[in-house]
Symmetry: C2
Amino acid sequence: MKADHIPAPAVKRLSLYLRELENLQRGGRTTVSSRRLGDALGLTDAQVRKDLAYFGQFGHPGIGYDITELSTEIRRILGTDRTWNILLVGAGNLGTALAAYRGFSKRGFHLVAVFDSDPRKIGRPVPSVESITIQPLGEIAKTVKQYDVRLAIISVPAEAAQQVADLLVEAGVRGVLNFAPTALTVPSEIAVSAVDMAVQLEQLSFQLGMMQRLPARSG
Amino acid sequence: MKADHIPAPAVKRLSLYLRELENLQRGGRTTVSSRRLGDALGLTDAQVRKDLAYFGQFGHPGIGYDITELSTEIRRILGTDRTWNILLVGAGNLGTALAAYRGFSKRGFHLVAVFDSDPRKIGRPVPSVESITIQPLGEIAKTVKQYDVRLAIISVPAEAAQQVADLLVEAGVRGVLNFAPTALTVPSEIAVSAVDMAVQLEQLSFQLGMMQRLPARSG
């Protein structure tokens, strides 16, 4: 498996395949065809087979994919067959919501600490996660070391985000999920993923416009 | 411009080009080359030209793109050259954060109403946006009509999301941004975009694993 040859959209679809496999498993199924997996996600069976072929040989002729086996493999490829300790900087509304987001721990991401620069927040519990006390930014380096934290979430205002990113990188964090509405400059060996929620609304707005321009489908 | 022929990633990149154009404009620039626009986003100049060519002929030989002109065109293509009234269902932590998210209004998405099923919340102001009073779900249809709402955000628990989606579609909403961690079933003419924040962490986890497996780059 060579990272250079795998398109980013294929990696993204791995996450979607995993979710669909888990849905099927909850529904009591043990195997699935590439066609059925594709149908659930609006993809052709050829696309499903092509995506998975980047990572190995998973199907069984005449049977399809073994759901447990493929789920295990995808988790291993994504690196979520282990637990990652994560930290979060910025205990505002969004940070508080993210700290309580159960989807993270369900996927193996364990939130160990929350930081903020506001002296009125420091020393208090996170409103949504009472077991975590908000710490000052000066404690980031110690926490990263203590819990071997590689991934961090930034949910601070735009103007504070670069400084926080610098602190995180210096402390040894290797990947940053950025909710601040600004681009971050980090060394090339640091992975950054930016979440801009307005982008998603723009995409919907585009789709609505397209539907209006296109004639209604027949059949 | 035919929707069938435009790959979704190209549409997504339109949003990113627009953000970069706005950054450049704030920096005082009036024109930009496809190379510089690509560099800022980690794309080749050929990719930038190819993406934009789906939508029209925007560049000027020897000059590049006029930033104001291209920004205006992209907003028109995305449908954000107008204001969209949006509503939000689910006034929990995430809903409260989203209601206060300034990125939406900056992009032309104007939040007109917030709904929740919890009788303790109904009639109270949204904690983060005091000017909006939380309404019961039964008021959705009236609000959609009154404010001509086409887009809605769902931030309710997974088990309530489908029922809320049904209510929204019945009321006339055409696009849904779904933050609930579950897949929604809607008629084919309704646009749905799902936000699963754990997916982004999975992608970072994958990138970190790749970096460890690959030899360090020389040069």
